[in-house]
């Protein structure tokens, strides 16, 4: 039982951490009423996926993927890093668009609380 738990949890804790972070992000995205907090949740959600990618590229005992002339050097897989670099850029742009939308919403409705926003919208 204990060994099974160790097998499932400790040897794969990077996956558990990613799942945990992802759920925290999703929770914030759904449950928080403040629009900015929703976007923070979205960022946590995305970061969880990024960390998952980075953690799976790890090769035990591997070094940075720089080409060295000597034979037999163990490298960390560089491809997920490159992919995530792209995904981070995408994430930043989405955050920028979202925040600028929030600024506009605040200018028009005077609130960034989702419930209040809905009452203001219905009141018009």
């Amino acid at each position: 039982m204990i060994e099974g738990f160790q097998e499932i949890f400790f040897s794969r804790y990077n996956y558990w951490m990613a799942i945990l972070l992802m759920l925290i992000g999703l929770y914030a995205l759904i449950a928080k009423q403040n629009l900015v907090k929703k976007i923070i949740g979205l960022n946590i959600f995305q970061t969880a996926i990024f960390l998952l990618y980075i953690s799976i590229s790890e090769v035990r005992g591997g070094t940075a993927p720089i080409y060295l002339p000597e034979e037999g050097t163990l490298y960390v897989n560089p491809l997920p890093h490159v992919l995530i670099l792209t995904a981070i850029v995408v994430g930043v742009s989405i955050t920028a668009v979202a925040l600028s939308l929030i600024i506009k919403i605040y200018e028009i409705y005077g609130t960034i609380d989702y419930d209040e926003l809905m009452t203001v919208v219905r009141g018009r």
Binding site: Y53, I56, A87, K104
Partner: protein, 495 residues
């Protein structure tokens, strides 16, 4: 040779043109429209050329920067993507022509330049999604098109558009996260991102739960993007609040490309054998698709706003296309592909009519459109024609696609589902008729400028040509089937 570079040109030229629009638009706003139009026309010509070559010479591959896969990114065009590419470029051209007069009324003048830049970026993302052969590259193009779409929705003068764009952004980003996770799982299992290679390597790991998880994440992600019921919640607000020209692009081009990506993932990367043997999901898709058809149509009937009515009708029509995926045999998929083209043409026409009505009267409420057929005869006739196609009256394109869908469903023995599909058509009669009745049969019109021209030619020409296209495509459906048949055979055979 330039001939071999066509695949990259169709992406690179609009990127340059987006920069040009920004530069020239800063100098003088009037430059934006011609540059956009020339670029899209050029892309359309390339897409037709590519379609012609693909049909006659087979699949074309292009390696970006000369890097061979699996290291480099590959652009692939086969009969399926060639067909989709030609379809979306045709609709992009029509909405490009339509956009100028329409946005004059619906977006503030200082947003004109960003509008055209974003419009161009949206088209780049969608074209890229269609022709890419690399699954991560697909994700990047999805995000390019999505970010452009979020911003485009927010260009509208209607203040609620910001909230609609925000809701779409949140749901769209969750979808993108799911897609990214799915891609990650596939990469962990196989170590490759190239679609062609994945199709060859994946079958050996079909029993792994990692692959099942990847499959589910990808389906959910793309279903949100394609607004497949019950994941359609962003759609009605986004379609209603966006400027009409944007709604046309979103409902025709963007929805279709998302469905295309779903087809690609389910049938090319994963094979139909996987869906039947290892992970029986076709029945679930079929069931949800029929619910989508009925629920979308019922919700459409309940609306009082023409654009919102058409938006819910889109939810219903996406159900038809997913129905093809649920049946997944030759005939049904041919019907599905035909419906992708058919729905793009007719829904494009219907939303354009809604746009010209907003241009003319400033409202999209159904109750204020009484007797509209007297002041806007061409638009209302176009609406009737495209509406007939939406219902599925022969010989329109809408009839042909539903005919193939029903044949496919009957061939697989799903006759109950076939009956539901026909019931969906009957419900379409109800919501299309609501407008027809108000426009044609409800007495005197409230608008007193009958002598004015109906609307600018740049809006009327796309409307009329799309409406006529509904008819012509249905009559000359055999010529279309010559392109669609090999595409479906290729899909079912595994790319």
């Amino acid at each position: 040779m330039l001939q071999d570079q066509l695949l990259i040109l169709i992406i690179v030229i609009p990127i340059l043109s987006a920069l040009l629009i920004a530069a020239f638009g800063w100098y003088d706003r009037r430059w934006c429209y011609p540059i956009t139009l020339i670029t899209i026309f050029f892309q359309w010509c390339i897409s037709l050329l590519l379609l012609h070559r693909v049909v006659h010479e087979g699949t074309i591959r292009y390696h970006v920067g000369g890097w061979m896969p699996p290291l480099g990114i590959e652009l692939v065009i086969d009969p399926f993507s060639g067909f989709i590419l030609a379809t979306i470029m045709l609709l992009a051209l029509a909405s490009g022509i339509y956009a100028r007069q329409s946005i004059e009324r619906e977006i503030p003048p200082d947003k004109t330049v960003p509008f055209y830049v974003l419009f161009q970026l949206l088209i780049i993302g969608l074209v890229g999604m269609t022709i890419t052969g690399d699954i991560f590259n697909l994700y990047v193009f999805i995000e390019i098109s999505s970010i452009a779409a979020y911003a485009l929705i927010a260009t509208s003068k209607r203040s609620y558009s910001y909230i609609a764009a925000f809701n779409y952004l949140v749901l769209g980003s969750i979808a993108a996260g799911c897609i990214l996770l799915g891609i990650g799982n596939i990469y962990v299992t196989t170590g490759t991102l190239n679609m062609g290679e994945l199709a060859a390597v994946l079958p050996s790991s079909y029993h792994l739960s990692t692959v099942h998880a990847a499959f589910l994440f990808l389906i959910i992600g793309f279903s949100i993007k394609a607004a497949f019921f019950p994941l359609h919640l962003w759609l009605p607000d986004a379609y209603t609040e966006a400027p009409s020209a944007v709604t046309v692009v979103l409902s025709t081009v963007m929805a279709k490309v998302s469905v295309y990506a779903l087809f690609r993932i389910l049938l090319s990367i994963f094979t139909p054998a996987y869906m039947i043997d290892s992970f029986p999901i076709t029945d679930v898709i079929l069931m949800i698709a029929t619910i989508a058809i009925i629920a979308g149509a019922v919700l459409a009937i309940a609306q009082n706003d023409l654009k919102r009515l058409l938006a819910y009708s889109s939810v219903s029509q996406i159900g038809y296309i997913m129905f093809a995926l649920g049946v997944a045999n030759q005939l049904a998929l041919e019907g599905g592909l035909l419906h992708i083209l058919g729905h793009a043409v007719m829904k494009g026409c219907l939303f354009m009519v809604a746009g010209i009505i907003i241009y003319r009267t400033g409202t999209s409420r159904l109750s204020e459109m009484r007797g509209l057929s007297q002041t806007m005869p061409i638009s209302c006739a176009a609406f009737a024609l495209a509406g007939a196609s939406m219902i599925g009256i022969p010989p329109t394109i809408g009839f042909m696609s539903k005919y193939y869908l029903v044949l496919g469903a009957l061939e697989s023995g799903h006759w109950i589902y076939a009956a539901v599909l026909l019931a969906g058509s009957l419900l379409a009669v109800v919501y299309i008729w609501r407008f027809i009745e108000i426009a044609y049969f409800s007495g005197e019109h409230d608008h007193h400028h009958a002598a004015d021209p109906e609307g600018p030619l740049s809006m009327l020409i796309p409307i009329a040509s799309l409406a006529l296209l509904c008819l012509f495509l249905g009559v000359f459906v055999n010529a279309l089937m010559e392109i669609i048949e090999p595409a479906v055979t290729l899909l079912l055979g595994g790319a």
